[in-house]
Symmetry: C2
Subunit: 137 residues, 2 copies
Amino acid sequence: MTTPEDPPRLRLAEVLAMEQKGNLFAEQCPSRDVLKHVTSRWGVLVLVALRSGTHRFSELRRKVDGVSERMLAQTLQWLEADGFVARKSYPIVPPHVEYSLTPLGLEVSAKVEALADWIEYNLPQILAAQGKIPIDP
Amino acid sequence: MTTPEDPPRLRLAEVLAMEQKGNLFAEQCPSRDVLKHVTSRWGVLVLVALRSGTHRFSELRRKVDGVSERMLAQTLQWLEADGFVARKSYPIVPPHVEYSLTPLGLEVSAKVEALADWIEYNLPQILAAQGKIPIDP
DNA sequence: GTAAGTACGTACAAAAAGGTAAGTATGAAA
DNA sequence: TTTCATACTTACCTTTTTGTACGTACTTAC
């Protein structure tokens, strides 16, 4: 008689296919990469900025105070690859490229904006909790 | 006659005091730091993990697959300093420390969890958009 | 007797992220 | 004619983040 077999090991892709969702608590899950892009230093700001409509590269650069061109380009490429941002370029000189949110991007950015807004509106309380600002004397 | 004076420059703290909220698009705004902590690689996961209740250090470490002790400690300290996490330690040996969400932390973590959940549930679509997984044959 | 568990702090090293500056093609404005 | 603007890319360097490994003080399990 044979020794009892271990149940066959599932590969990540198979598990995902079964449960049809990611698991951020698992180190190998690809959702971690998506999260990284979306919550990256500039990812958050770009997503929120694009909620107010299509923007050109330089418009974004001016709106998101402090991004370098290098990082803005990088961030936009991540978000495009994840299917959150659509890029449309017109083959003219000087170059003209427009960025906008895809339907998927519209959804994530809503979540991201909710978080961003919460932080902005609760900053006073947070600073108070940090003991950095004595609230309203 | 004197030259016309520029309006007096406002410092950040003064602006904040007036509008009573942060502005993430401004490079100097302290809200950027809070965002950094909350959306940091492990910050997101710790906040979500704590939503299911009080956890000990080692419980969190096991739950959040892949964190090193160093980073978990660091992350918890950030979140504690921002007023999102409460730390309670019992002076016994071996050490026993419990972490939980403050009321403020309960609020941010809700936003963070909404984002995390969205990503988990939409992973299949995202991977499909990335062209990495051919959805349902 | 020895190993393991607990909640970190710390020093050192590797990896990742980010910034800076320069280059590109071309047309238009000064 | 020099400069500016556009949307990037690339090379190089600095800063930040993250990981690794070890130490601690004491108890419990083996």
